[in-house]
Symmetry: C2
Subunit: 326 residues, 2 copies
DNA sequence: GTTCATTTTGAAAGCGCTTTCACGAATCGC
DNA sequence: GCGATTCGTGAAAGCGCTTTCAAAATGAAC
């Protein structure tokens, strides 16, 4: 920077101003500085800048998994929107391990990020206390609940489950099942299953069969169908906690000679690409994956532009996309 | 830090050493310092640390897209391996736009990252010159080619295409097609298509039909089948540049009453979850998506541990996973 | 041509660490 | 037991910016 200052014939302070807040510098000098900077190929050292300034243009976001296409979609939107404003995403993944989450949040917060985004509402005490103590905006995304630490943007998985239960009840089904990978620390899938069963019970007075499978992928869906039918042969409608499972069940049903939706109604969750293109097209519940990313980015930008901007706790809701399987 | 020093009754310098390089400090003091630090809830400011030190524990990685499950898988592995060693991933996505790539690389390099990872071998002049000038290890991943800027870890898409062409040729097919989304800036898909056609021509003396579709998803695959058969009804084998397209074509084939693989052989690319669980199970070519992540992380760690460690240019190859569709 | 208000600019003080350097203490060899 | 090494520690000098503060320059008003 000193060199640029010398070449432009100004002081380092002016170089800093010309580059960071051009409006505070006279037109003439700004041009001289900018030209000198480009001629010398000067790139400001952001670390030094951040140390001197109050905050880094980094936004820490921690997600359970990068391969989960829901979070990937959210990150994608956030990245696009925030990148454009000069913010960089620092991404951490904890594989559904709260202690790793705490370590990541600790590490991130020591960067003085402009904002911190975490997934879900379940955190260790330590995570919560770090997040509460942080000066920057903190957003808990994906799950909706009362009283976020700072701001919350997401939807209720329980409501998503209820929507499915209510849909089946309103169609007059008496024997239904819910299949999901519930055992892992995936509280989201459990909330959906719970919402489904509760709503179906409330609406029909009947118990739904809940089946816990070991993974979210197609193969498990295939096996699940047989298990559901073995336990309860009268089952006429099955909701899944994921489209892949649902698709797997559809393949298995086809092999078993079951017609969908006449013999068996199927409802997925996620609205993955595959859902719209199954044959018949899979009805599913769509979480607002892109919307969350956009809302989070917007909120961060708003808070950063005006530190007194209000916190928020947004429920973006889910949508039942009815296609051909129910 | 000063406070911790006072509480522990030592100098700030000792605190720094006790926390960063415990082996250079006497057992007794180290314990005192550590206790004081935890008692005060002291978290070192990494920005200051990075400014004083030479390098940030940040690794910049730029990918075309976060929603692409190949890159997501690679990032996932990198993140897991590098996180464990205290490095943070800074992720940028450019949506296949070289100029955005250059901007991201510029921004990243002004952080003095410990390493820079970019996707592919096609960069603007500016990107190349920044990358060449950077002091840290630079890895170009996913594509294999001669002479990387620094190190390269990937595989040859052309070879992946050739493998498909050779497979069809060796099965005695005479009329084959390759379907892919070739128009976009996706040079990878084009390389595969080129490799396929070249190899098939070399092996059989026959021309393969190349069909360019507008997107990579299931729906396009459905439509593509009809178009291929309309142009060239004798086609008996189709290779796709993505599993989703292939799956779409399988759905369409099923509706059209075609038996797979008897009437039509199908070969995918990607080995997505869906491939193994189609009915019949989809044969496909599997790119080393996780392996790339691991190799990149390993290489970065090696270079960082020993700055004189050799650069490398690795071709991880692809694998033909033969299942039931060919 | 002054004076006063306003804008521009430069000097300098950090931001919170790491690391070199030098010094006193502990350890060693003979 | 004495000098020669090591080892452990603290003082202090930055790392490369931003930002306050005050001085200089400009312009408006009389």
């Amino acid at each position: 920077m000193e060199e640029v200052a010398r070449v432009a014939g100004v002081s380092p302070a002016t170089v800093s101003r010309a580059l960071k807040s051009p409006e505070t510098v006279s037109e003439k000098l700004r041009l001289r500085v900018q030209e000198a900077a480009t001629r010398l190929g000067y790139a400001p050292n952001r670390i030094a800048g951040s140390l001197a300034g109050a905050r880094t243009p980094l936004i820490g976001v921690v997600v359970p998994s990068l391969t989960n296409s829901f979070f990937a979609a959210t990150l994608d939107r956030m990245s696009a929107l925030l990148d454009a404003k000069g913010y960089q995403l620092m991404i951490g993944q904890h594989d559904y391990d709260s202690d790793r989450e705490e370590r990541i949040v600790t590490a991130f917060s020591s960067w003085n990020p402009s904002a911190l985004v975490v997934t879900g509402r379940d955190h260790t005490r330590g995570t919560v206390s770090i997040l509460s103590a942080t000066a920057c905006p903190v957003i808990e995304m994906w799950d909706h609940d009362e009283r976020p630490i700072d701001s919350g943007i997401g939807f209720s998985n329980r409501a998503a489950g209820r929507l499915a239960g209510q849909h089946f009840a309103s169609q007059g089904f008496e024997h239904v099942a819910y299949v999901g990978a519930l055992l892992e620390q995936d509280t989201r899938a459990r909330a959906r299953a719970g919402g489904f069963a509760a709503e179906f019970l409330a609406a029909t007075g009947r118990q739904a069969q809940i089946l816990d499978v070991s993974s979210r992928d197609l193969g498990e869906g295939c096996k699940a169908l047989a298990r559901v039918l073995a336990t309860q042969p009268e089952t006429r409608a099955i909701a899944f906690s994921g489209d892949m499972l649902a698709a797997g069940a559809m393949f298995a049903a086809e092999r078993a000679g079951l017609r969908i939706p006449q013999d068996l109604a199927i409802l997925g969750y996620g609205d993955l690409d595959i859902a719209a293109h199954m044959n018949p097209a899979l009805s599913t519940i769509r979480p607002p994956r892109n919307e969350i990313g956009e809302a989070v980015a917007d909120h961060i930008l708003a808070r950063l532009a005006d530190p007194s901007a209000p916190k928020q706790n947004l429920d973006l809701g889910v949508e039942l996309i009815r296609r051909a399987t129910t």
